[in-house]
């Protein structure tokens, strides 16, 4: 009886020590689930989900505060990926957050721009260059199409331009056949 107790206590001590060691030395920094959710989100940082950026939204999803259908730029595909990751049902995009649009970039009408720098301050990815009372312009390769620069512009000189398809970005279509031919 006593030996059994000693053996059990010994095992408990050893395992406890191992677990204690592991919890200190193999500690996972940060929440890996948030990282995974953040990796799926499109990083437009547009705030249409109601959170100030993609990372806070990812945080909210992982905590259960936000639903997975609040990201319009991610669209259906993004919702599907999030549902796969979190083991939830796929649901349509919440219309309150916006609608899925084709990818676009901001374009500044340089004739109208007065150089107020408001859009520069609004841009979450520093994709607008310019200085006070100087013409501003968008670096289109860096623009995420978040539309955050449109509202602050006092002269409404910013428009969204859909990115045209080029030979390099063209995709082969899914093979389909005319019904008449197959019938």
């Amino acid at each position: 009886m006593l030996s059994a107790l000693i053996v059990m206590a010994g095992i408990a001590l050893v395992l406890g020590a191992v677990l204690g060691y592991a919890s200190i030395h193999f500690r996972v920094e940060g929440d890996p689930l948030v990282e995974k959710i953040d990796a799926i989100l499109p990083q437009t940082q547009c705030g249409q989900c109601g959170y100030p950026g993609c990372r806070p939204y990812a945080d909210a999803i992982s905590k259960g505060d936000a639903d997975i259908n609040q990201c319009p730029p991610g669209g259906e595909e993004g919702i599907r990926k999030l549902a796969d990751l979190l083991g939830r049902e796929v649901k349509p995009l919440n219309a309150e957050n916006g609608v899925e649009k084709p990818r676009a970039v901001a374009f500044i009408d340089e004739q109208t721009c007065i150089g107020c720098t408001l859009c520069i301050q609004a841009c979450p990815v520093d994709a607008i260059i310019g200085a006070a009372k100087q013409m501003h312009t968008v670096v289109s390769g860096l623009c995420t199409g978040c539309e955050l620069c449109i509202a602050p512009c006092p002269v409404d000189c910013i428009t969204m331009e859909t990115i045209p398809e080029t030979v390099e970005t063209w995709k082969w279509r899914y093979p389909v056949f005319a019904i008449r031919q197959a019938a």
């Binding site: 990083q43 940082q45 860096l142 082969w172």
Partner: protein, 544 residues
């Protein structure tokens, strides 16, 4: 020498005899050349010319954008009439920037500067070839200078020259080997010298006896070995030919150079010879015109020549309804007849519904496994098909979708007539698009995080600056208070106020009324009245 075998492959009807009966012909200068700036793998070259500028034959009109790119040259002398988007010889039918040249008919060469290979370093030589626009002429148009790099892991021991030309109808390499074997041999020796290759193998399918004889005759006295390989599609695939000639099977994720083997097309060898020995950049190529034409043959065509003009010379039959660039196995239909010939155009296959009837309707996959038997890349095509069909791209990549060379053997043998390659192309382009999106998202994330950090830092720095300034002022005041105690009191603040009031009073006294000379009496009286009123309204002078 013992030859090896690759798995799979098919033996379609070759249909090569018709276009080898006549020698290579040169086309008359077309009325207009549409030269696309982007003709190779890699970055789009930057235009170097303006509208209205006169250019000479061989003059560089597009500079390579970065190292993974190749320059573009004017195919003949003339005037640049426009730099504008034009429809590309691409299945998308989309447009891209082209230089439209109106030839002046003189065909005058720009000054050429041939180089001595021995006098140049490897880097200089590669830059020279990049600026001469030399790219792989087998159809992949990969910039050749990138492949002519012996690399760090020691030199390339084996140089494989690909003259197999396995695809039906295409005979441009065959005719090149028959008519210009000396150029090919010279170019091959140059490439072998750059790479430091000791073993040089030329692989030619055994259905081209004339080409084999010509190449053997030309390579006499050189270390080049010309080998006839069995005719089986796709023996001309780089990995397949390397396997047949050397027995080396390049595994997934590796390159042939990891095993000391590098492979070039015979046309590329010819282009290297032209560029280095004569200083002539790549401005034309041999193009096979075959299929639904009365006189199929090979033409030496300047890049930018509209396909319709080339085909017209070969007399197309009236029921022609489309052009295919490439062969019947791997080619794709052209969006228009007028699209230009580019560096990748090895063949213009003139098609009609009679010659190439539309494929029968797609039937369900019966999992017979014929495609796996035929696959020369040792893949499982039916699995790839299922994954591509289900948009399951991750799984498709796990099954090595990107090792697929799109040779079309699987679709050729499929009893259900499934256009398998279309599914693979679809899946590949979807995966590329996702990669692009992911790269953009990663970049946006980094930039957003950096911006947030910068804003925090700016806020912090501003707060620190303010705090420092406040402390400084305080210290200054304390110093003043201790260093020079004011006469009429201990409070330094009071002294400051007194000093400020004194300054204001002096300033006021310094202000003199202007234009007060020679005023009429009435106005003088008015001023006096106002002054009196002000004096009355002003509070008593503050105590000094």
């Amino acid at each position: 020498m013992k030859l090896f075998k690759f798995n799979g492959g098919v033996k379609p009807e070759t249909n090569k005899d018709a276009s080898t009966a006549l020698p290579i012909a040169t086309l008359p200068l077309p009325g207009r050349l549409t030269v696309p700036l982007h003709q190779s793998i890699g970055g789009t070259p930057r235009p170097l010319v303006r509208t209205g500028q006169r250019v000479l034959k061989g003059e560089r009109i597009g500079a390579a954008d970065g190292n993974v790119s190749a320059a573009i040259h004017a195919p003949t002398s003339g005037t640049i009439v426009a730099l504008e988007p034009a429809v590309m010889p691409h299945p998308s039918g989309l447009s891209a920037l082209c230089a439209i040249i109106a030839p002046d008919g003189e065909d005058a060469w720009a000054p050429v500067n041939p180089v001595d290979v021995r006098a140049l370093s490897g880097g200089e030589l590669r830059d020279y070839l990049r600026d001469a626009g030399v790219v792989g002429m087998g159809g992949a148009v990969f910039p050749s200078h990138l492949k002519l790099n012996p690399g760090r892991q020691g030199k390339v021991q084996t140089l494989v020259i690909n003259g197999a030309e396995c695809e039906p109808y295409i005979t441009c390499d065959d005719m090149l080997m028959r008519e210009r074997p000396d150029s090919i041999v010279r170019g091959t020796m140059l490439m072998a010298q750059v790479l430091g290759a000791e073993r040089i193998l030329v692989g030619i399918e055994d259905n081209k006896p004339e080409a084999i004889a010509a190449m053997e005759a030309a390579s006499r006295g050189t270390p080049i070995r010309v080998l006839a390989v069995p005719t089986r599609y796709p023996a001309g695939g780089a990995k397949q030919l390397i396997r047949v000639l050397t027995g080396i099977e390049v595994p997934h994720g590796k390159r042939s150079t990891d095993f000391g083997v590098q492979c070039f097309n015979v046309g590329t060898a010819c282009a290297v010879h032209e560029a280095l020995d004569f200083g002539r950049p790549l401005i034309s190529r041999i193009v096979t015109v075959a299929g639904n034409v009365s006189t199929p043959r090979n033409f030496e065509v300047l890049f930018g020549t509209p396909m319709a003009e080339v085909v017209r010379t070969a007399l197309p039959r009236p029921d022609t309804n489309r052009y295919v660039m490439g062969g019947p196995m791997m080619g794709f239909p052209m969006p228009a007849y007028g699209v230009p010939v580019v560096k990748a155009t090895n063949c213009i296959l003139v098609a009609s519904d009679h010659l190439f009837p539309p494929p029968p309707p797609e039937m369900p996959c019966i999992r017979c496994g014929e495609c796996a038997k035929a696959c020369p890349a040792d893949l499982a095509p039916f699995e790839l098909y299922w994954f591509a069909r289900a948009h399951n791209y991750g799984k498709a990549q796990e099954y090595h979708l990107f090792d697929c060379i799109e040779c079309g053997c699987c679709a050729y043998v499929c009893p259900s007539h499934i256009p398998l390659v279309d599914y693979y192309r679809y899946a590949k382009s979807e995966i590329w698009a996702r990669e692009r999106d992911k790269d953009a998202a990663d970049q946006a994330r980094t930039r957003f995080e950096f911006r947030n950090e910068r804003q925090d830092r700016e806020k912090r720095e501003k707060a620190e600056k303010l705090a420092a300034k406040a402390a400084e002022t305080k210290a200054k005041l304390a110093e003043e208070a201790t260093g020079a105690p004011p006469a009429d009191g201990d409070d330094p603040k009071k002294a400051l106020i007194a000093a400020a009031l004194e300054r204001a009073r002096q300033q006021k006294a310094a202000v003199e009324p202007k234009n007060t000379d020679d005023l009429p009496a009435a106005i003088q009286a008015e001023i006096g009245e106002i002054d009196a009123r002000r004096q009355a309204a002003m509070p008593a002078e503050p105590p000094a």
